[in-house]
């Protein structure tokens, strides 16, 4: 598993994207911005089970972190957006999220005193849906979190992990977690069925969000298949899973062991792996992301 380095992007687009990311006027009633559910101070999530949209509407999936999202093979839990640009359009139009549309958004941005000039600076053709999405996506691509303690360990700093964390890392690999959570993102580069070794959805009425990738491909074999999320900064992004059902990391690890690996993990194993997962918190803007 190699290490991240932060690439550079055109500063005008990044700055514009940053502003748009925090812009509540992207929503119908000017109440919700991207940052409302992807709070950069909360590990890039809202740390609630489901997100609240305009007029208090409650969503049906757990909001994934926006940090390191540029490394993922696709966006959304079911991978329905190939790129970050495609993803940006999703929430804007979703009636229980921002409940707006491009026409309305562009109208508001044109009326602003700053936006027309800022767009002029970054794009030759001004405010268009493609440019809004591009600016936000470009900003999001800068949201990488390198230099976690684990990265430092991989770079040869053997003291960066203590004995427990190191043992946790060994279990993480040997138990098989690393078969899916691998690569630069420690996950994020493949899809996997939730419930390989047991029926996770047993005894409940699955909602649409529970169908996973089936919603995209329509193939029976993709039923309950989700994107394997990146585990970078995972300690900051509770609750866990697409349904936000696991409140703590320990619980999430136990469930993963049972349904994905087919093993009842001991309390000790869970604790060691959780200790390891805490070493994955990276740096953003030169500072380590902290748990609150």
């Amino acid at each position: 598993m190699p290490i991240l380095s932060v690439p550079t992007f055109p500063p005008a687009k990044v700055a514009l994207g940053d502003k748009l990311f925090h812009e509540p006027r992207l929503s119908h009633d000017n109440s919700i911005a991207c940052a409302s559910c992807h709070d950069l101070a909360k590990g890039g999530t809202d740390q609630s089970r489901f997100s609240t949209g305009i007029k208090g509407a409650l969503g049906d999936v757990n909001a994934p972190t926006v940090f390191n999202s540029g490394l993922s093979i696709a966006q959304f839990w079911d991978g329905r957006a190939k790129t970050l640009e495609e993803q940006a359009a999703g929430p804007v139009h979703n009636p229980i999220e921002m409940g707006s549309n491009w026409k309305e958004v562009i109208g508001k941005l044109l009326a602003d005193k700053d936006y027309p000039a800022l767009f002029e600076l970054a794009y030759h053709d001004g405010i268009t849906p493609a440019n809004i999405a591009d600016a936000i996506a470009t900003f999001e691509r800068t949201l990488l979190t390198p230099n976690s303690r684990f990265d430092r360990y991989l770079r040869g700093e053997k003291k960066a992990l203590n004995d427990d964390e190191l043992e946790g890392y060994r279990r993480f690999v040997n138990l098989g977690c690393a078969s899916c959570h691998q690569g630069v993102g420690i996950g994020g580069n493949m899809f996997q069925r939730f419930g390989v070794m047991g029926d996770y959805f047993e005894g409940r009425q699955p909602g649409k969000a529970d169908l996973g990738r089936f919603n995209v491909t329509g193939l029976e074999e993709d039923m309950h298949v989700f994107k394997v999320p990146s585990l970078r900064n995972v300690a900051l992004t509770s609750p866990y899973f697409h349904d936000g059902s696991a409140k703590t990391l320990s619980e999430a690890v136990r469930v993963m062991g049972k349904y994905q690996l087919g093993k009842e993990l001991s309390k000790k194993e869970v604790n060691l792996i959780v200790a390891f997962l805490h070493t994955l918190n990276g740096e953003w803007q030169g500072k380590v992301l902290h748990e609150r």
Binding site: G176, S179, M190, V196
Partner: protein, 994 residues
């Protein structure tokens, strides 16, 4: 009026023609061709990554995801066909690009499923045996133990060889196990075990299927077709543009001729005017230039900081400049007319001046440092340059001498050296000079094979002296210690001060450890003598750490560090003592030294010889080269293979010397062969250490220079694994060899799988596929797949490939079918002494099985046919093996002939591809017979009729050969149909590649 009309019309015509002629944009063509090339590479890498993940050589999907994404992007680009193609060609190319995109979509989907299933499979394969061990190792009741063991054994057997029969065995064992455990307390544990067993049963065949499907997708072939149609289209567009270009040329030529006529008339009148004007101005300019130049020369002469003397042919001074006066003290009037001899210092002898004059008269000039004497009798150094001036007839007319006083430079040089290399306080060498001395001392000790001790000396209790009596006393103490240490030095030894109270002594030319220890004892003793520099009597002691060469055969830095470490140990052990670094290492190195010295002796006694193994082009039936292999004619052990002695000296400089001997011997041999008319390229193996040695390329160039006739026919083989140790450096060296005209090959390719990623960065011209893969490829489908992968990659990166380890006719035939024509191996010829090579090369004939398919080619779509053959051979081999070693027979014996892997191919893909050919039908009968006989053998064996069963094995092999024969016929037919088309395609592909 007429002129402007003609010009206007021509301009219009030229514009139109230009637009047509330039419609084929080279940039666009380059971009598009490059995308197709990228696509080919990314597609090949995707296949390789799937394989690498399946075989667990790689354990993350980043590269796989990246390459797949890259090939999809390139395919999207390829769908936008350059506009310069004619409509019909554009549609054709676009259609091919769409086909390709569809295939890649399919591949993308397969890869997505592969990733997730492979992950689950990997986990269960790893967990199942461990869980089984845990359970069975515990306290298990007997009634449970047997069925559980049975089940575990069958699952593991299935994991090794996932066929239908083993599948049934697992199912049966599983049922039995579950039946027994129904009410048992261990139910949960067993349930978990079965859960993972089930995962293996489900996912292993699926993942294998997907891997085969991905590798069998026709993307490479579609890409080739795309490339072909594009090449044809491009060529045609090019041709029509060419027509317009010719027309453009003709029109332009006509226009030019007309204009030339018009201008010629105008010009004639103007020229006579201009000529007169020009002559006048030229004369004026020349005069000005001459004046300027004179002024310039005189300024240079007078203002130069360097003294200048002009003398006539007899050496008498004609003129000097002011700087001369400043340096020597002689005024112009004093100098003119005299001989420069007047400033001679008398520091140089007759020979010096004789050589100087010889150079002036022979080469026309002399330059050097010389001591002269000024008017006041002081001697000073100058940098002098004297030139002889000759006139047009070549007669010597003058001398010009230019010199600079360099006494100040000399003085500064001396001061700088002192500052840079010596410690200011004690005057001892400092750390920088020590490093230099240490390096020299080390190489001197190596040469003279004597011991050297590096002693790191630190004063005990120096700090209190400094604190109590002040720095002044501390400094005096250091000076005192320095001079004491200097006293005990012998010639060649060095004492240096590193700073503070740390000194290092280098003791050279020691004969024994005893002598070394004596010297150190003396050192400790002399340090602890009482001091008289302070009123109160004061004593200090020292702790010394010692590293001894060659016991510690390290580089200078490491030696010093070892000595430092040892010094700390001496301090820890109570000060006023010494400690010697690591004795065990000493003993180990000494025994190793014995082996090495025997090999060294062998080199000196000429016990090594070179053998040569031929490399051939199987398709053309010609010998293409040789590989030189070293052998040791050991007086007692007989012929020793390199594997038995090279590893011992792998990390020793001796291997570099042996490598140099090999290159020299091979070149000399090639030179001899050249005389007898044999002109083949010969490759030699280069060890990692030799490759990395600092003067490898330089040394190689020198050796090559001795054999200019054959130099360019030498080839270097570099082990893939040693190239990977430092990819950047290896790639640089390969590049430098290429500049010398020497090409390189990567040896044992495939053994380090990660190298595939690096292949792009290593400019080796040739890849040698490791023999382990080739040997097994005719009986093991997995190895065949790897060979295909390497070949695909080599094709994508446009490298030559040669297969090692061709042991049978069939190896060679299969390689030719895979489009790999170059081979070497015992099946062609074993390595032989040099004197047998000429005869062998003259008499070698390729096998008839090879000449038979010389002009035939198989497509990527025919690969499953080739794989099926391997599967069949594999199945029969397993059966025979199982029979002989009295194990259960393989799958398909009890079932019908459609369930073995060969049968699955025959009834699936085989039918859809080849059922229209009569040769295909011919295979069914002998295949059925094979299975009938197999069933009978099984039955006989169960009935205890072992002898009868044994006799039937022969019959089985006869029928197997019948299947293989029938398959050969089908292969030939298929290839004959393909070949007509493919030769045309190859020509085009080759043309576009060039």
């Amino acid at each position: 009026m007429l002129v402007s009309a003609v010009v206007a019309f021509s301009a219009l015509l030229l514009t139109v023609l230009f637009m047509r002629a330039e419609s084929v944009s080279p940039q666009e063509h380059y971009d598009y061709s490059k995308k197709l090339r990228d696509l080919r590479e990314a597609d090949a890498e995707t296949n390789v990554e799937v394989l690498a993940n399946r075989l667990e050589v790689t354990r993350n999907y980043d590269a796989l995801t990246l390459f797949l994404e890259r090939s999809k992007q390139a395919a999207t680009y390829a769908a936008v066909v350059p506009a310069f193609l004619s409509d019909s060609h554009r549609m054709l190319v676009a259609a091919k690009a769409r086909d390709l995109q569809q295939t890649l979509d399919r591949k993308s989907r397969l890869v997505e499923v592969f990733k997730r299933q492979n992950a689950v499979l990997r986990n269960s394969l790893a967990y199942f045996p461990a869980a089984a061990d845990d359970f069975l190792g515990g306290n298990v009741p007997a009634q449970l133990k047997n069925p559980a063991e049975d089940y575990v054994r069958h699952v593991l057997s299935f994991a090794r060889n996932p066929d239908a029969e083993r599948g049934l065995q697992v199912a049966a064992a599983r049922q039995q196990l579950l039946a027994v455990t129904q009410s048992h307390p261990a139910r949960a544990v067993i349930g978990n075990l079965v859960l993972h067993g089930d995962a293996i049963m489900k996912y292993l065949p699926e993942v294998n299927g997907i891997t085969y499907e991905i590798n069998g997708l026709e993307s490479a072939q579609q890409l080739e077709e795309l490339n072909r149609y594009y090449a044809i289209g491009h060529e045609q567009a090019q041709r029509s543009a060419e027509q317009y270009r010719k027309l453009l040329y003709v029109v332009a030529l006509l226009l030019t001729a007309y204009l030339a006529y018009v201008f010629a008339r105008l010009d004639r009148t103007r020229r006579s005017l201009a000529k007169a004007h020009q002559e006048v101005s030229q004369r004026y300019a020349a005069q000005l230039l001459a004046e300027d130049r004179l002024r310039l020369h005189s300024t240079a002469f007078n203002s130069s900081h360097e003294g200048i003397v002009l003398a006539d042919a007899a050496g008498n001074i004609i003129d000097i400049n002011p700087a001369f006066t400043r340096i020597t003290g002689y005024e112009r009037a004093e100098a003119v007319g005299r001989n420069p001899r007047m400033i001679k210092s008398g520091h140089h002898d007759q020979e010096f001046y004789a050589a100087m004059w010889k150079s002036i008269l022979g080469n026309g000039s002399w330059q050097g440092e010389i001591w002269n004497r000024n008017k006041y009798g002081e001697v000073y150094p100058e940098l002098l340059s004297i030139s002889a001036v000759r006139n047009v007839e070549g007669i010597l007319t003058n001398y010009v001498a230019v010199f600079a006083d360099i006494s100040r430079i000399k003085e500064q040089e001396k001061q700088l050296t002192q500052l840079a290399y010596y410690d200011a306080l004690t005057g001892l060498p400092n750390r920088v000079l020590l490093a230099d001395r240490l390096t020299q001392a080390l190489s001197q000790s190596k040469r003279s094979a004597t011991m050297m001790a590096v002693c790191y000396l630190d004063l005990d209790g120096f700090k209190p002296v400094n604190d109590i009596y002040g720095h002044d006393v501390g400094d005096r103490l250091l000076v005192e210690m320095a001079s004491r240490l200097k006293e005990i030095l012998r010639g060649g030894d060095t004492v240096a001060r590193l700073g503070g109270d740390e000194f290092v002594l280098l003791l050279l030319g020691l004969k024994s450890m005893a002598e070394c220890e004596q010297a150190i004892q003396r050192m400790l003793q002399i340090i602890s003598q009482p001091l008289s520099i302070v009123p109160k009597k004061l004593e200090v002691t020292a702790s010394v750490g010692v590293a001894v060469y060659p016991a510690d055969d390290a580089n200078p830095d490491t030696l010093l560090r070892h000595a430092d470490q040892a010094m700390y140990q001496a301090k820890q052990a109570g000060k006023d003592r010494y400690h010697i670094f690591d004795r065990e290492l000493d003993i180990y190195v000494r025994t190793r030294h014995d082996h090495i010295s025997r090999i060294e002796e062998a080199l000196a006694n000429g016990e090594f010889a070179m053998y040569y193994q031929p490399k051939v082009d199987m398709r053309k039936g010609i010998v293409v080269g040789l590989e030189g292999l070293i052998r040791w004619h050991h007086p007692e052990r007989g012929l020793v293979s390199p594997m038995d002695f090279l590893p011992v000296i792998e990390d020793h400089d001796l291997i570099v010397r042996i490598g140099e001997w090999v290159i020299e011997t091979v070149l000399a041999q090639m030179d001899t062969w050249q005389d007898s008319g044999l002109s083949l390229s010969v490759s030699v193996n280069v060890a990692g250490r030799q490759l990395q040695s600092s003067n490898f390329v330089q040394h190689l160039a020198t050796t090559l220079g001795k054999y200019p006739r054959v130099a360019r026919k030498l080839e270097l083989e570099i082990l893939e694994t040693s190239a990977l140790e430092d990819v950047a450096k290896a790639s640089r060296i390969i590049q430098q060899c290429r500049e010398l005209g020497i090409s390189c090959a990567l040896d044992d390719f495939g053994t380090g799988y990660s190298s595939l990623t690096y292949l792009k960065r290593l400019p080796a011209a040739t890849i040698k596929i490791d023999q382990s893969f080739i040997r097994e490829m005719i009986s093991d489908p997995d190895n065949l797949l790897i060979v295909q992968g390497v070949l695909g990659l080599a094709f994508a990166f446009q490298r030559h490939v040669i297969a090692e380890g061709v042991e049978t006719v069939e190896h060679g035939r299969l390689l030719m079918q895979l489009d790999c024509d170059f081979a070497q191996g015992d099946g062609i010829a074993k390595a032989m002494p040099a004197d047998q090579v000429v005869d062998w090369a003259a008499n070698w004939q390729p096998y008839s099985e090879w000449t038979e398919i010389r002009d035939l080619y198989w497509l990527a779509t025919d690969r499953p046919l080739l794989v099926a053959k391997v599967e069949h051979r594999n199945w029969v081999a397993q059966l025979v093996y199982a029979f002989k070693s009295e194990m259960p027979l393989p799958a398909g014996v009890h079932e019908d002939h459609n369930k073995c892997n060969f049968g699955i191919w025959y009834n699936g893909r085989g039918i859809s591809q080849y059922s229209h050919l009569p040769e295909f039908g011919q295979i069914a009968e002998p295949h059925n017979r094979v299975h009938e006989i197999a069933r009978e053998i099984d039955k006989c064996r169960r009935d205890g009729q072992t002898e009868k069963a044994k006799s039937m094995i022969v019959e089985l092999l006869v029928q197997r050969d019948a299947v293989l024969d029938a398959l050969n016929k089908l292969e030939l037919k298929v290839a004959q149909i393909n070949t007509g088309e493919i030769t045309g395609r190859r020509l085009i592909a080759r043309a576009t590649r060039v």
